[in-house]
C-alpha cells in the first residue's frame, strides 16, 4: 500500500530526468535541419531506399562544398514502413520536435497526402520527390514536387498504347486503395477513350492483395490487346506472373510505380516485354546524368540509380537552391524561393515550378528486355 507512495516521487524524478534528456536539442546554429520521411522498409521499400540514397548523395555533395548559407545540412530521416497512418505522425515529430526547416518526401502519393496537411498547417515547406497525384500539391501553398503529374503521365501512356502498342482494346486493373493508382487510371481512361480506344474490362484490386486470378480471368475473357496496370511494383510483379500463368500473353504497361529492381526479381520472365513510363533513364547520354550515375555507383557499391534515386537527388538540390536564394532559414522565405524556382537543371531534366507548385518534365518509356530496363522513347511535356 505504501509502496506506490514511496515509488511515485522517484518515478516522477526519473521521468523528469528522462524528459530533460530527450528534450529537443536547441537548434545548433552551425547546421540546418531538413527532415525526410520515406518508406525505408515494408512493401514499397525500394522506393524509399532509392530516393533516400539519392537524397543522401545530394546532401553529402552540398556539405562537401561547404553547405548552404555557410551551414552544414543535417538530414533527419524517418521510416514510415510503407504503412498508412505513419507519415503524418512522423511529419509532426520532425516539425515539432526536431524543428526542421523543410521536409522531403514521399514517393507514394497516398503517404505524401497524409503528411502534406501537417506541413501546410505548420507552414513548413514540403518537397515531394516523386508523388505524381495532382492532389498532393493541391493541399496548400507550402507543398511542392519536382516531378511530373499524373494527368501528363496518364495521357502519355494512353497515347503510347495506341501509337506504339497499336492497342485499341485495353483492359485496366486499378488498385482502389492507392491515390496514385486511382488518379493515373482516371487520366488514362479520359485520354484513351477520347482517342477512340475501348476499355474492354475495368477491374479493381486492393493493396496487399496477392490473388489476382479472378480479375485476370475476367480480363482474359474480354480479350484485350494490352493490359494497363497503374500500380506499385510488388503487386504488378504478382499480377504479371498470374497473367502469364493464365495464358495472357499481351503486354502489360503502367506508370512510374513499376520502377524498382523487385519488379524483375519477383516478376521474372513474366514482366518481359512489358512497358512503363518513368522520370528518367540512367542510359540518357547527357553529361549531368552520366556524372550522377558514376557518383551514385561509387557511393553505393555499384548500384545503378533508378528514377526514384534521381528524383530524391533533385528534390534535395532544388530545396538547397531555394534556401540559398531565400538567404534565410525562415520557412516562409524558403517557400517563396521554392515557388520561384525556374530553370533549375537537375538529373531528371529542367525543373520549373509552376503556379500549382508542380514541375513539368518529360517522361521516358522503358521496356523490360532480357531482364533489364531498356529505353524506348521520351515524351515531351
Amino acid at each position: 500500500m505504501s509502496f506506490p507512495r514511496v515509488l511515485a516521487p522517484v518515478l516522477l524524478a526519473l521521468g523528469a530526468l528522462w524528459m530533460s534528456g530527450c528534450a529537443p536539442k536547441t537548434t545548433d546554429s552551425s547546421t540546418l535541419r531538413i527532415g525526410e520521411f520515406a518508406s525505408l522498409t515494408g512493401k514499397e521499400a525500394a522506393f524509399g531506399q532509392s530516393s533516400h540514397k539519392g537524397t543522401l548523395l545530394a546532401i553529402e555533395e552540398l556539405n562537401a562544398a561547404g553547405g548552404v548559407l555557410g551551414k552544414k545540412i543535417e538530414l533527419l530521416s524517418e521510416d514510415n514502413q510503407s504503412k498508412p497512418g505513419e507519415s503524418a505522425t512522423i511529419a509532426k515529430k520532425l516539425i515539432a520536435r526536431d524543428k526542421v526547416v523543410a521536409l522531403l518526401g514521399e514517393v507514394a502519393s497516398s503517404r505524401s497526402l497524409e503528411a502534406a496537411p501537417v506541413a501546410q498547417a505548420a507552414k513548413i515547406p514540403m518537397v515531394s520527390p516523386a508523388s505524381t497525384n495532382p492532389k498532393v500539391t493541391e493541399t496548400g501553398d507550402y507543398i511542392f514536387r519536382v516531378c511530373f503529374i499524373d494527368p501528363f503521365q496518364g495521357t502519355a501512356l494512353a497515347k503510347f498504347a495506341q501509337s506504339h502498342l497499336k492497342a485499341r482494346r485495353v483492359a485496366v486493373l486499378t488498385s482502389v486503395s492507392s491515390a496514385y493508382s486511382v488518379g493515373l487510371s482516371k487520366y488514362f481512361h479520359e485520354q484513351f477513350l477520347q482517342d477512340g480506344g475501348v476499355i474492354v474490362a475495368d477491374q479493381k484490386y486492393s493493396e496487399s492483395d496477392k490473388d489476382f486470378n479472378a480479375q485476370l480471368t475476367a480480363i482474359r475473357a474480354a480479350a484485350p490487346e494490352a493490359i494497363f496496370v497503374p500500380g506499385y511494383y510488388t503487386e504488378v510483379a504478382l499480377i504479371a506472373r498470374q497473367a502469364r500463368a493464365l495464358g495472357l500473353t499481351v503486354p502489360l504497361f503502367g506508370g512510374d510505380g513499376w520502377e524498382a529492381p523487385e519488379l524483375l526479381t519477383i516478376g521474372g520472365d513474366a514482366v518481359e516485354g512489358c512497358f512503363y513510363s518513368t522520370h528518367y533513364s540512367p542510359d540518357t547520354p547527357t553529361e549531368a546524368v552520366q556524372t550522377f550515375v558514376k557518383k551514385f555507383r561509387a557511393k553505393f557499391s555499384g548500384e545503378t540509380p533508378d528514377a526514384m534515386a534521381a528524383l530524391g537527388y533533385d528534390s534535395a538540390l532544388v530545396l538547397a537552391d531555394a534556401i540559398r536564394r531565400a538567404g534565410s532559414l525562415d520557412p516562409a522565405k524558403i517557400r517563396d524561393a521554392l515557388a520561384t524556382t525556374h530553370g533549375f537543371e537537375g538529373v531528371t531534366g529542367r525543373t520549373d515550378i509552376d503556379a500549382h507548385r508542380n514541375a513539368s518534365k518529360p517522361a521516358v518509356i522503358l521496356e523490360v528486355k532480357n531482364g533489364k530496363f531498356a529505353f524506348v522513347e521520351s515524351v515531351a511535356p
Binding site: 510503407s82 490473388d211 479472378a214 504478382l238
Partner: protein, 296 residues
C-alpha cells in the same frame, strides 16, 4: 463456360488454403474453447521457414520441395507447442478472455519480431517444386495450383483419420467434450493439448508454403489477411467442426473469386464477409456446427 471453369479452379485453390488454415483455428477451439489468433502468424513463420530452408535444397525438385515442406511443418509444430507451453498453459483454468487477449499479444509479438528478424521488405519465395502449366482448351491450371488442390484435401483427410481413428484422437475428442472429466479418467491433458497445437501449427506451415508457392512474395505481415479469412471460414463452417472448416474455406475462396472476377471486384471482401453475416443470422452455429449452450 471457360471463364466459369477457370474461376472455379482459381476459387478452389484459394479456398483449399483457407481451409487448411481454418482447420487450425477450429481444432484449438474444439479442444480449448478459445481462438488462437497467433495461428495466422505461425502460417507466416512457416512460409519464412520454407524461404530459408528452400535455399539448402536444389530448387524445383520434388524431393527437395517435400523435404522443405516436412521440415517447415516440424519447425512450426515445435513453435506451436512452445507458444502453448509459454503463453497459454500458465493461464489455463482462468477466464477464456485472458487467453484470448494473450493470443492477440502472441500474434503481435510474432509479427513485429518477424519484422526485426526477417526485415519488413517483401521477399521472393523460391521455386520449391517443379513447375508446369497445363491447358485444357482455354482453361489453364498450374502445377502449383494442382499441388494445393491435391495436398490440402489429403492433409484434411489425414487429420480426420488422426482425430477419429487413433488413441490420441480419442483423447482429443474426450478433452473437447469435457476437460475435467477427461482428466479424471486418466487422460494426460497436457500431452493432448500440446499435440493439438503441434498438429494445427504443422498444418499452418503447410498452408504457408502452399500459399507462398502461388503468391511468391512474402513478408512478416502476410498472415493477417489470410488469417482473418480463414477465421471467418472456420466460423462460417461452424467452429469446432473439422469438415465445417474445410467447407467454409471453399465457400469463402469461391465467393471471393467469383465476386473478384465480376464488375463488383471492389466489394469482394465486403461480399465475402457479408455471406458470413447472412449465414450466422440463419444458422448461428455455422453451417455444420452444433449449437450448444455456452458454459460460463
Amino acid at each position: 463456360m471457360t471463364e466459369f471453369l477457370q474461376q472455379l479452379i482459381n476459387g478452389l485453390s484459394l479456398g483449399a488454403i483457407y481451409a487448411l488454415l481454418a482447420l487450425g483455428y477450429t481444432m484449438v477451439y474444439g479442444v480449448l474453447r478459445f481462438i488462437n489468433f497467433a495461428h495466422a502468424d505461425v502460417f507466416m513463420v512457416g512460409s519464412f521457414a520454407g524461404y530459408y530452408l528452400g535455399r539448402l535444397v536444389p530448387g524445383g525438385t520434388l524431393w527437395g520441395g517435400l523435404a522443405v515442406l516436412a521440415a517447415a511443418m516440424i519447425a512450426c509444430a515445435l513453435l506451436g507447442v512452445l507458444i502453448e507451453r509459454l503463453a497459454y498453459r500458465p493461464l489455463r483454468g482462468g477466464p477464456t478472455l485472458n487467453v484470448l487477449i494473450t493470443a492477440i499479444g502472441v500474434s503481435l509479438l510474432l509479427q513485429y519480431s518477424g519484422q526485426i528478424i526477417f526485415g519488413a521488405t517483401p521477399r521472393t519465395f523460391p521455386q520449391l517444386f517443379p513447375v508446369a502449366q497445363f491447358h485444357l482448351g482455354r482453361v489453364g491450371i498450374s502445377s502449383n495450383q494442382i499441388v494445393v488442390i491435391v495436398v490440402a484435401p489429403l492433409l484434411i483427410a489425414g487429420l480426420q483419420l488422426v482425430v477419429f481413428k487413433t488413441r490420441m484422437g480419442m483423447a482429443m475428442r474426450a478433452v473437447s467434450l469435457n476437460l475435467k472429466a477427461a482428466q479424471l479418467v486418466g487422460v494426460n491433458i497436457n500431452t493432448v493439448i500440446s499435440f493439438t497445437f503441434a498438429l494445427g501449427s504443422a498444418l499452418a506451415a503447410a498452408g504457408g508454403i502452399l500459399y507462398s508457392m502461388n503468391y511468391p512474395s512474402i513478408d512478416p505481415l502476410m498472415g493477417v489477411m489470410p488469417g482473418l479469412k480463414a477465421f471467418t471460414a472456420a466460423i462460417l463452417g461452424g467452429i469446432g467442426s473439422l469438415p465445417g472448416a474445410a467447407l467454409g474455406g471453399l465457400i469463402l475462396g469461391g465467393a471471393e473469386t467469383f465476386v473478384g472476377g465480376s464488375q463488383f471486384s471492389t466489394y469482394k471482401d465486403a461480399i465475402a464477409f457479408g455471406i458470413l453475416i447472412v449465414i450466422l443470422l440463419l444458422r448461428p452455429a455455422g453451417l455444420l456446427g452444433r449449437w450448444t449452450a455456452e458454459k460460463i
